[in-house]
């Protein structure tokens, strides 16, 4: 077990963050599997619509519920788990519906929200909605279940900050002071169909209607009215999620590839997590090209042809291709080494550089080998 696994040993929650395409989901699964093998009840929660974790864990269906990865699957891969491994895929829409059901005072109100067209868009299509629900689900799992470790794989956000900002941004839409002040009279009068012109000044409302159409505003007003009284519950929960993330039982694992762009993004995110006081367990540089040639000038085609001749098989074309391949490889390795050095110099926590493997990691046996390296 390596340094990262050490740092995660005392943690109950590991949050894997990083740009898309760096192998975040695979690492999340490896971290989870590693702990389950060592003994522990572990859940790996992914939010990925491409079902990458399902592929990696050999699970055919992953729903919004936790599924046990069967012992025989592990046994087939030559693994014996002293603990248990569970996996699930977050369904943002279902999580929204559950959240509404949890906070709605009665069935009628719940159904009215479900039917609202804006709610339907908000819960399924609004940018940031997935990120918010990932946080929400994490809180539910952390407070209501008895896992020793929950590994959360975060959505491949367009902007790393969405993950931290989405809950506040969406909550702000559900109700801020302005909206509440405006809506209060209608709600207290028990009226459902809110008149547009109560929204604050006829001139403003009429001009807005020209922009959006009056019925869109009506839908929105109805939506706001439905959420009255529930807002505080949502807000409290979001605040609880945020303070949960700053607790010492949480460890963020930042994952990057060796590309400059990915390193930039991860360092930016690292800075933000530090500013928010959130605990960083470590930084993983994934798929790094290993350096194969020590110091000194690279061999050219003639050097290699001579060496091949010593093996009794001189071949000029083969030697030339070998020379070119080594030189390209070393160039990629040099660029990668430079970027990984920058990533590690400017970040805290455990530092793990994983070499690019000969094969993709997509089965339990290779996930277990990856877990070893962590």
């Amino acid at each position: 077990m390596g340094e990262l696994a050490d740092r995660l040993r005392g943690k109950r929650i590991a949050v894997c963050v990083g740009p898309g395409g760096v192998g975040k989901t695979t690492l999340a699964a490896a971290i989870g599997l590693g702990r389950a093998l060592a003994g522990g009840k572990v859940l790996v929660c992914t939010i990925d619509p491409a079902r990458r974790l399902a592929n990696a864990l050999g699970l055919e269906t992953l729903g919004n519920v936790e599924a046990h990865v069967p012992e025989h699957r592990l046994a087939e891969a030559g693994l014996r788990a002293r603990g248990q491994l569970f996996a699930m895929m977050l369904d943002a829409k279902r999580t929204w519906d559950d959240l509404v059901a949890r906070h709605a005072p009665d069935r009628a109100r719940r159904e009215r929200i479900y039917r609202n067209r804006l709610y339907q868009q908000l819960s399924s299509a609004l940018a940031g909605s997935q990120e918010y629900m990932a946080m929400e689900k994490l809180y539910e799992l952390a407070t209501e279940r008895d896992y020793d470790l929950i590994v959360l794989d975060t959505p491949p956000t367009a902007h790393a900050l969405d993950f931290l900002d989405a809950p506040d941004r969406i909550l702000d839409l559900l109700g801020n002071d302005t909206a509440r002040t405006l809506l209060a009279p209608a709600v207290s009068a028990g009226r459902v169909g809110l008149r547009l012109f109560q929204l604050g000044g006829t001139y403003v409302a009429r001009t807005m209607a020209r922009f959006t159409g009056a019925e869109v505003l009506q839908d929105l007003a109805d939506f706001m009215a439905s959420f009255q009284g529930m807002y505080d519950g949502f807000k409290e929960r979001a605040a609880a999620v945020r303070s949960l993330l700053a607790e010492p039982q949480v460890g963020f694992v930042l994952t990057s590839s060796a590309s400059p762009r990915s390193v930039d993004e991860v360092l930016f995110f690292h800075e933000r997590l530090l500013a928010e006081g959130m605990p960083i367990a470590g930084v993983v540089a994934n798929r790094v090209t290993p350096q194969l040639w020590g110091t000194g000038p690279l061999p050219d085609a003639a050097d290699l042809e001579a060496a091949l001749a010593a093996h009794g098989a001189p071949d000029g074309s083969f030697a030339a291709r070998l020379a070119r391949t080594l030189s390209e490889h070393e160039q990629l390795a040099r660029v990668d080494a430079r970027e990984v050095a920058r990533l590690f110099e400017e970040s805290s926590g455990a530092h793990v550089a994983l070499p690019r493997l000969e094969t993709d990691v997509h089965d339990l046996a290779s996930l277990a080998r990856l877990a070893e390296a962590l």
């Binding site: 367009a158 302005t178 909206a179 929105l220 194969l292 080594l326 390209e328 490889h329 993709d360």
Partner: protein
């Protein structure tokens, strides 16, 4: 000529999994079109700008800015797009400022789901159809779209609004935008992938969404960072022995073995993508470069331009082979 034929459209949408090189492909396509004398605009959406720096040009921001001759870039942000759209709808800046800078109104506008996607997409599509001096302002607009999931969310907004929003100004805008997106003579969507398992899986899912949910005409599949098949099977089998030896042959053979394994795997994922997707494929070779700069974009552009010829030759060879068999 899948690569170059794409340039005959008015709007090219480039998307794919995060980290596969969408911006590089978008920049290379723009370069190819611009060098053929067409006026090109590349749009990024609320992004950390990638295209202008790749071309060695300063960041554009929301103001369209020339990066190279005939080649312009812009970064569309929701706030600026909303403002531009608002002024266009209301016709007077003073009215926009009076109404839309009002904090109650700003709050409600933000609260309308998908409105920011709609106005950003609206800005891009407006650039496609806007005329200047009796001809389109741009010969070609290239949208460097967000990654798969977000791209589908973005591109389905007009269609979704047509289903959910009652008749009115929003609905009318959604309608013309949708019509432009699904017109195969105007718009073409290309997917970028790497020859690796997960990116190919995602490309296949994305393609299904494009055909089903979005209904946008499909252009090509760009397979980026494709390692060349450099060593024969016989040579590859020798590499393991050679790799066990000392320098200089050992490390060279080790690098070659890694290259050969990678090329073999890439070939398999390419075959899988080709079998699952009836799309012309454009192969962009894996480039070993110190910096991703204009030189790299030019190399990618040359590969795209060359892929047409290679594809053409292959098609010809395939057409000839039955005759050869008969002979």
């Amino acid at each position: 000529m899948p690569g170059l034929a794409l340039l005959d459209h008015r709007l090219l949408i480039v998307t794919g999994k995060g980290g596969v090189g969408k911006s590089t492909i978008a920049a290379a396509l723009a370069l190819l079109a611009a060098r053929r004398g067409r006026r090109v605009l590349v749009c990024e959406l609320n992004a950390q700008e990638r295209v202008a720096p790749l071309l060695g040009a300063p960041l554009a921001g929301f103001e369209t800015r020339q990066a190279l001759p005939n080649l312009f870039t812009v970064n569309v942000t929701p706030r600026d797009a909303m403002r531009e759209y608002g002024i266009m709808t209301l016709r007077f800046k003073s009215i926009y400022d009076a109404v839309f800078e009002n904090r109650v109104v700003r709050y409600f506008l933000r609260a309308i789901p998908s409105l920011s996607e709609l106005v950003m997409l609206g800005k891009v599509l407006y650039e496609v159809r806007v005329q200047e001096h009796g001809r389109p302002r741009w010969d070609l607009v290239i949208l460097d779209a967000p990654a798969t999931g977000h791209a589908v969310q973005l591109l389905r907004v007009p269609g979704a609004l047509m289903d959910t929003v009652p008749p009115g100004p929003l609905r009318r805008d959604a309608e013309w935008m949708h019509a432009l997106l699904v017109d195969p003579g105007t718009t073409s969507l290309s997917i970028v992938t790497l020859p690796e398992e997960m990116p190919v899986n995602e490309a296949i899912e994305l393609d299904a969404a494009v055909r089903g949910l979005l209904g946008i005409a499909r252009g090509a599949l760009f397979v980026n960072a494709m390692p060349e098949a450099r060593f024969s099977a016989e040579e590859t089998s020798r590499l393991s022995d050679l790799a066990a030896g000392g320098a200089p042959l050992g490390p060279a053979a080790l690098a070659a073995r890694l290259q050969a394994i990678r090329a073999e795997q890439a070939g398999r994922y390419l075959a899988r993508a080709r079998a699952a997707l009836d799309l012309p494929t454009v192969l962009v070779p894996l480039l070993a470069r110190e910096q991703w700069d204009l030189g790299a974009v030019e190399a990618v552009a040359a590969a795209i331009a060359g892929s047409g010829e290679a594809g053409g030759e292959r098609a010809e060879v395939e057409a000839l082979s039955p005759r050869l068999e008969r002979l």
